[in-house]
Structures are given as structure tokens and as C-alpha cells.
Amino acid sequence: MFGIDPVTLAAALIAASTPILLAAIGELVVEKSGVLNLGVEGMMIMGAICGFIACVTTGSPWLGFVAGAAGGAALSLIFGVLTQFLLSNQVATGLALTLFGLGMSALMGEDYTGINPPLTPKLFPEALRQLEVVGPILFGHDLIVYLSVALVAAVAWGLARTRTGLIIRAVGENHDAAHSLGYKVIRIRILAILFGGACAGLGGAYLSLVRVPSWTEGMTAGAGWIALAIVVFASWRPWRALIGAYLFGGIAALQLRLQAAQIDIPVALLDASPYIVTIIVLVIISTDRTRAALNAPAALGRVFHASG
């Protein structure tokens, strides 16, 4: 159809989805602990520039990914301190974090435009990657792609089956009750926020080191917001977040190919399509309010203040 090869499309959508998947799975854990961090976009772009600088300077993509995660986590710590210790409003702080991240990354990245980073190696040997169909789709990626899927599995298992996961859910459900049972609500939430920041930063670094690969200002272009939407779309369930991310990544990959195939649809409309789909899906999901309310963490976005 339109000269688009489904195998390369599938391979491309997986790569295109990885940044938002990483950011979404991190934000999912944050929201499960009862914190709404709207600064995903800012943390992603900080991860993108920190990762890029580290990678270009050291020549190692792996150090780049570590630096990206660290950059995102560092920015999220600002959010954590402001909202958890100084009890600031989470929505306003999250928005400010996005603006701060965008500005800060532009400043840090001034001297890095127009440079190509060292290539990130593929994980599997050439022979496997040359296989028909499954080669490009299953074996044609780098470590981070597999890591992102493993992370989804780990978060899904961890939240549902482990005690740590249960405590995170409990804190997000009723922080007063968790506090009276002796759980350290603020410490748990700070750790969740750091995890979310590191995931978003890693996603950002994947964007600047593998997806694009180069640095341009504002290169996340709303990926963070899509990640936030995916968490709601997934009704806070990790595997559904994977489906959501691949769906949105698929639309993004498809619209590029439709443009290349000179299909007679306005480019602007194709560019906007992932966002339009996001809005439509959110509207559909939020029509059933009782079901959405059942899955949402009950303490989401509420300020916790320990009183005597």
C-alpha cells in the first residue's frame, strides 16, 4: 500500500516509540505513588542534551545514556524538593519544570548543534538481523529498546507482585493511611519521582543519540506530553502503556512514510495526527468516569502534609 514496507514500518515504529515508552513508564510509577509530574517534557529534553554532551565528549554512547538518565533525575529532584518538602502545587511546578528544562537545555546545547554523536551499536550480530521479517523487527535494535520493554515487564511485575510495588500503590491510594501505618510517604514519593526523571531522561537521550541523532533546540517536540497522555490512556497499567506508546509511535512513523510516499494529505495534518489521536483517545476514555476513577490513584496530585 502506497509503497510502504510493513516490515520496515514495524521496525521503525518500535524505535520511534522507545523514547515516549520510557518516559511514560517512569511517569506511570510516579503517578502510582500519587504524584502528578507534568514536567516530563522538560526532563526528557534535559536527558537529551546531557546525554548528547556526555556522548560527544567521551565518545561512549553508554556513558551518554547514563548521563541522560542522570540529567532527567537531577531535574526531577528539583520538582521533588519543591512539591514534597516545600508543598508547592504539583501542576504549576510541573509546568514550570518543563519551561525550565527547555530553556536550560537550549543554553547547554548552544555549542553542540550540527554535530553527529558516535553511533550506538546494535545488540545482535549481523546474521540474526538479516533474517526475513523477524530480523529487522525483533533483532534489529540496540540495547535501549530491549531495556525499555524489560522495564515495562519489571514495572508491571513489581507494582503488582512485590512489596515495594504494594507500598507505592498504597501511598498513591491514601497517603494519610500509609503514614499512620509508619510508611515514609515523602521518601517513597521522592524515590518514585527520581525514577520517573531517570526514565524520562533516558528517553530523551535515546532521542538525541539514536533517533535523530543530533542536537536541536526543543527536539522533544511534545513527546513528553504524549507520554503523559499515554499514562492516562493506559489507565495506569504498564502493559497498556506499551500498547499506547507503540500505537502513537506507529502513527508517527506512518505519517513520515506517508509524506515520503507523496500521498496527497497536507503535511501539517499528518504532523498533527499523533496529537489528534491522543485527544480523541483521551476523550473516549474519560467518557466512562466511574471506570477511570476506579483505576486512578486516589491521592493523585494531592499535597501530603504529615501532622502530629
Binding site: 512489596r163 504494594l166 507500598i167 500503590r169 498504597a170 491510594e173 491514601n174 494519610d176 493511611a177 500509609a178 499512620s180 501505618l181 509508619g182 510508611y183 466511574t290 471506570r291 476513577a293 476506579l294 486516589a298 502530629g308
Partner: protein, 509 residues
């Protein structure tokens, strides 16, 4: 015999108030010890110190001869101290087993835990299914979750903070049976309550607190409830008086009221019907979560119901909103004070305007008459003894009991023809509760119809002319309240329903 827990000179001060002042008492092993006092007497702060949630400013505790100073609840649990909270510390979206494991120090694997929950609930007669979501449980069942959570840790001291306030008489019996069994096995119990008859029935010793200080101790079986009440309050209380009035014409009439709940954990209303006459108090009893909130919302106008289901003076008001109903003389006060009866961050004056603007003429042509509003707020504060610096204070800053007096007073002073209140004296201390009850009776005496929804059965028996029970969204036929016994009421409230639950658990085990 050495005391299990010896408390010596514990003091804790908060800015502006000394919650506990040099409190000393001792709990023996296997003893059921009552801690008595009014709201604000310092009972909760006391137990929070024992449970490690609050650190005392001065004084020390000795547990089994060893110094005891828990820095956090897990230290207290490790020392064998467990606590059942007044406001349940449960997570509605999690299931029973998950809730239980969250309160344990060394939780077993989930599979073993489910088995142990079944064992303990068998041993102590507390039927409970480990797989059910807590949000779907009744208040009594929720309390069982808390108790089982404590019992699984084999505590040596069990603290119970106001455990019976949400239970039916039958559930109270089951609870007391469990507690006596525990006490016979050597577990000490610290029992906090202001229900004197319960304490006389259950406790071996009592320490009475007033304004943070120990004002006396007694053996509850040997003194009368009135004597304990006097120690607690510092003066003798008079029972409310009611003028003997003949019931007048019917004012509020409800028939075939059916509603589906708006929230996932709500209760549907099923075919509710009753009539309240002028000069009458109709009491509606029931355990929390059986449709009280939904019934209040349907009467106040927050939820609209089918045409013809709610009428006032023979006029159908079922499709009218709250303001239209207020205009016609139906005022209401919901249970939840913060965020429902009052907007927490608005001042008392602003809160007065919110419901009283029509009947008290506080707004003209879209503009608020602030002077009149403030005068009205002051009137409420003065007539209902609301302790606050003034009407400019935010509603959130008032203590629960004071805000309750304010929201009840706000509705009563609008001279309603029909007043609907849910839990009018919830969290209000004994003397203030008595004055609210007196005000309800006076309002009925002046010819208004009053509908009181409450979980406090003693209260309902004291003030109602007729009594009906709400159970799973169904209302029993109202009966004359005079001469009703607790047993009859318990059956009306659905004691039989609980037996039914027990069978279900056995069948699935």
C-alpha cells in the same frame, strides 16, 4: 505483678495547646483498660505517643520493665503494640490481604497470608474474605480487616480508638466477644471511647482525661455511667427535654425513590418511602455506607430523582436543585463537613452566604450584602457556641466539632420548615452534642419537620419520635421510637445480613 505498660509523666504540647500534661497510668497484662474523655481531652495524642506516631516532650514509658520509646510505628509493632485506628487506615482500591500485609512488620507470602487470615477470622469469629476489595466492604467488615491485621502480629497490647462508633449493636457484641477472648489469652487492651455503657460492660479499669490531664481513675463496673460522665465533663449533663407535641400535617413526603449511585463505591437507593410530619423528628439509623449520603443528596437536591418521588407540601420537588428547595423551606446539612457542608478555604461569612442567601436575604440583585452576611455568621457563632476568633476565619481552621456546630446552626437559623441532617453530632463533644440535640427538639417543637440520619443509636432513641433503619439502600417501615429495644433496632439495621456474610465465607473456604 508488674505492669505491662507503665506511663509516667508524659507531656506533649502543640503550639497554643497542651495536649497531654503529665499523664501517668499503668496497664496490666490481659487487662482491658479504658481511656475516657471528651473530644480534645488528649486521648488521641496519648495513644499516638504509645504507638510511636508522636514523640512526647517529657516523661517516659516502660514496657515489661524495659524503657520504651518508639520512634516510629514499626518499632511499636516490633515491641508487640498494635493499633486499630478511629478513622480506618485502609486503602479502598486494594484487597483485604494487601491491606493486611501493609500493616505487618514481617509479612508472610501472599498465599500463606490468605490462609492465616482465614484461620484468624475463624478463631475469633470475624468472617472476612481475603480477596475482596476494601472499598466494597461495610464499616464493620473494614474494622475486622484492621483487627485481623493487628491480631496476625500476635500483639501484647492492642489499642482501639473509638472502635464501636460505626458498628451495629450486633457487630458490637461480636467485637466485645473477640476482645474478651483476647484479654483472656493475656493480651492487654487499651480501649478509647466516650460511650460509657460500653466501657462499663467491657473494661476492667479506666483512666479519665480532661483537657490533657488525668482527672481520675475508676473501676467501671463499680461506678455508674453518670459518675463517669461527671468526671469526664466536669459537670453533670442534663438529658434533652422535649415538649410533648402532636404531630401536625405531613410536610415532606417521599415515595418510590430509586437512585443508582454516582461513584463506584456508592450505594443504590431502593424504593424508599416515608413521610415526615410537622413537629416531628424522624430518625434514620444505619451503619455507614448503607445509602445515607445518597439519601441526603436526593433530599437536598444535589441529585435529582424521578418525578413524584420527593414532595414538600404536596408540591413535587424531585426535579428541583438545592436552592429551589431551600426557597421552599427545605434545608439540609450533610455529614462531611469539609468540602461538602462547608467550603474549607472560604471564611465562615462566605460559607454562610452559600446556603443562607435566599432565606436570610443575604444577596440582592446578584450582589452580596456583606454586612448582613457577617451579622448572620456572628449570630450562628453566638447561638451555637462556635469557638472561633470571628466570622472572617477560614472554615478549615475550625476543629471538626466546632465546624459541625457552625454548619448545623447555619441551617437551623434559616428557620427551615423541613431540616435534613446527617450525623448532626459526629465528632462533637458531649456537652455540645447535647445542645445540638436540644436545638433539634426545639426546632421540631416550633412546628418544623426534622429528619435526622445518624449512626449513633442512643442519639436517635433520645430525640426521635419515629425510627426507621437504612440497610443496603432500603428503608424499613418507620416505627414508634418509644419502647424500641436495642435488639429490635439491631435486627432492623441488618444484623441478619451479617450472619449471611459468614455463611458465604464458609461456603467458599
Amino acid at each position: 505483678m508488674t505492669a505491662f505498660l507503665d506511663i509516667a509523666g508524659l507531656t506533649k504540647a502543640y503550639p497554643g495547646v497542651v495536649a497531654n500534661d503529665d499523664v501517668s497510668f499503668a496497664i496490666q497484662p490481659g487487662e482491658v483498660h479504658a481511656l475516657l474523655g471528651e473530644n480534645g481531652a488528649g486521648k488521641s495524642t496519648m495513644v499516638k505517643m504509645i504507638y510511636g506516631l508522636v514523640r512526647p516532650d517529657a516523661g517516659h514509658m516502660t514496657l515489661r520493665g524495659q524503657p520504651y520509646a518508639p520512634s516510629e510505628p514499626s518499632a511499636a509493632r516490633a515491641a508487640g503494640v498494635a493499633m486499630v485506628f478511629q478513622h480506618f487506615s485502609l486503602f479502598e482500591a486494594l484487597d483485604v490481604a494487601e491491606n493486611v500485609t501493609l500493616g505487618m512488620e514481617k509479612p508472610p507470602r501472599m498465599r500463606d497470608l490468605a490462609r492465616r487470615i482465614a484461620e484468624v477470622s475463624e478463631t475469633y469469629g470475624l468472617p472476612l474474605d481475603p480477596g475482596r476489595k476494601v472499598g466494597d466492604l461495610s464499616a464493620g467488615e473494614r474494622q475486622r480487616v484492621e483487627i485481623i491485621r493487628c491480631l496476625l502480629q500476635d500483639p501484647k497490647l492492642l489499642i482501639m480508638d473509638e472502635p464501636t462508633s460505626v458498628l451495629t449493636p450486633q457487630e458490637v457484641e461480636i467485637l466485645f466477644h473477640t476482645l474478651r477472648k483476647l484479654s483472656a489469652e493475656g493480651t492487654a487492651i487499651l480501649y478509647i471511647s466516650h460511650k460509657l455503657e460500653e466501657i462499663r460492660a467491657l473494661c476492667d479499669a479506666a483512666t479519665i482525661l480532661r483537657r490533657g490531664k488525668v482527672v481520675g481513675s475508676c473501676t467501671p463496673r463499680e461506678v455508674s455511667a453518670a459518675e463517669m460522665a461527671e468526671m469526664m465533663v466536669g459537670k453533670s449533663l442534663s438529658a434533652p427535654r422535649r415538649a410533648a407535641t402532636e404531630a401536625g400535617p405531613p410536610l415532606l413526603h417521599v415515595q418510590n425513590l430509586n437512585l443508582t449511585p454516582a461513584t463506584p463505591f456508592g450505594t443504590p437507593l431502593r424504593n424508599i418511602g416515608f413521610t415526615v410530619h410537622a413537629g416531628e423528628v424522624l430518625g434514620i439509623g444505619g451503619v455507614a455506607g448503607n445509602g445515607q449520603d445518597e439519601l441526603l443528596a436526593a433530599l437536598s437536591g444535589e441529585t435529582l430523582s424521578a418525578r413524584g418521588s420527593v414532595s414538600l407540601d404536596d408540591e413535587d420537588i424531585s426535579q428541583m436543585g438545592p436552592d429551589a428547595r431551600r426557597e421552599r423551606g427545605l434545608c439540609s446539612a450533610p455529614e462531611e463537613r469539609i468540602g461538602h457542608a462547608a467550603a474549607p478555604d472560604m471564611s465562615l461569612t462566605e460559607n454562610a452566604v452559600l446556603t443562607a442567601k435566599l432565606r436570610r436575604g443575604l444577596a440582592h440583585g446578584g450582589f452580596i450584602d456583606w454586612r448582613a452576611a457577617e451579622d448572620f455568621a456572628r449570630e450562628v457563632i453566638a447561638s451555637f457556641d462556635v469557638r472561633t476568633p470571628g466570622p472572617q476565619v477560614a472554615a478549615r481552621a475550625l476543629s471538626g466539632g466546632n465546624l459541625q456546630k457552625y454548619v448545623i446552626g447555619r441551617e437551623m437559623l434559616q428557620d427551615p420548615r423541613v431540616l435534613v441532617v446527617n450525623q448532626p453530632t459526629w465528632g462533637v463533644d458531649a456537652s455540645a452534642a447535647a445542645s445540638i440535640r436540644q436545638a433539634i427538639l426545639d426546632l421540631a417543637g416550633s412546628g418544623s419537620a426534622v429528619l435526622v440520619i445518624s449512626q449513633d443509636l442512643d442519639e436517635l432513641l433520645e430525640i426521635s419520635d419515629r425510627f426507621a433503619a437504612l440497610n443496603e439502600g432500603r428503608l424499613s417501615a418507620p416505627k414508634d421510637a418509644r419502647g424500641l429495644t436495642m435488639e429490635q433496632i439491631g435486627l432492623m439495621l441488618g444484623g441478619a445480613h451479617d450472619m449471611h456474610e459468614a455463611e458465604v465465607v464458609h461456603a467458599s473456604a
